[in-house]
Symmetry: C2
Amino acid sequence: MAIQERKARERADRHARIVASARDLAEEQGWEAVTTRRLADRIEYSQPVLYGHFPGGKDEIVAAVALAGFGELAEALEAAVDGRRGRAAVAALTDAYLDFAAERPAVYAAMFDLAAIPFAADDTPAALRAGFGAVRSTLGGDDELAEVGWAALHGLATLRRAGRVPAAGETRRRERVVDLLHAAAAR
Amino acid sequence: MAIQERKARERADRHARIVASARDLAEEQGWEAVTTRRLADRIEYSQPVLYGHFPGGKDEIVAAVALAGFGELAEALEAAVDGRRGRAAVAALTDAYLDFAAERPAVYAAMFDLAAIPFAADDTPAALRAGFGAVRSTLGGDDELAEVGWAALHGLATLRRAGRVPAAGETRRRERVVDLLHAAAAR
DNA sequence: GCCGTGTTCCTAGCAGTGCTAGATTCCGGA
DNA sequence: TCCGGAATCTAGCACTGCTAGGAACACGGC
């Protein structure tokens, strides 16, 4: 009885450590440094153990990091908007979103560039729906506007990360987006 | 004399064929299928020849595809906007941009996900400036609005490609973006 | 306590990757 | 015709993701 429980607990621990190691390693040295050998090294087990937890291999590990990231993002967005209304809510949402992307570039990359997690589908995970829900409710409950707003934020985040847009204008760019989205939501 | 010219011409030809092969292969089977061995096979030379043309290796080849893509995108945007004014110009720009991304997904991925080409820097290639210039002039010559507009279009393109946004609402989403950008530009 | 049993884990290896040192072939010029 | 230098290829390195096979271990029944 208790033995089974201990085993299950150890297994869950190891599962979590794999995901955490992948995230940390990616955040430290970029995703190209995340290899199954290094991952196995970090959790102090051999490579094949990884496949016992993630039959899909490396891709599935990246997807797990991405999924956890969506959960964190949703939390961050909800916490930022909480209690605010109107333009202040839109501004808080924008800042929270872009700060998240800037502070966790590797996780953000996993979420949007690397992992192939369906979004606009029936089997979309709850964490993804929650994040989108935060954007939608802040923008007045309009699905289309939420999609466009999310796209604008995502575009800014990626262009900024790739250096396609100067770092200097960041503050004013954010204000501009807030203006646009708030005006559209108010209408 | 003439021999040297012929050699230079052949070299330039081969250079172009490498880039074209990479683009085609990526568009047919995705970038993960683009390997130096397959590329060498397609141009009917051995692998090391690639490095004579692109000392930076595969990354430099991808960057070349991306750079050519920026040229094509700039042309497409300028041609679409040509002669139009006001909302019609913004709509044409939006359609041209999103159609380009949808029709050449691999090239678009090279431009924004794979290649690390500086943008907002002094040594930004001309093709990149031209594309941005088309967006800026269409949106009233405002640098910040152009950046935000570009971000919105880029965000829509990538979210759409990743299936993060339903295919059904595409038309209305485009109209929405056009509304937002046109309103902001008119102000 | 002991012994089969089944799970858990590791070692070793495969095929494929980007890239390169060294040998080889080729070709223009004398 | 032959030589010298450039152009090109063969073979190999270190790495990748992934897996088959065997070894070691802990468990339950006697």
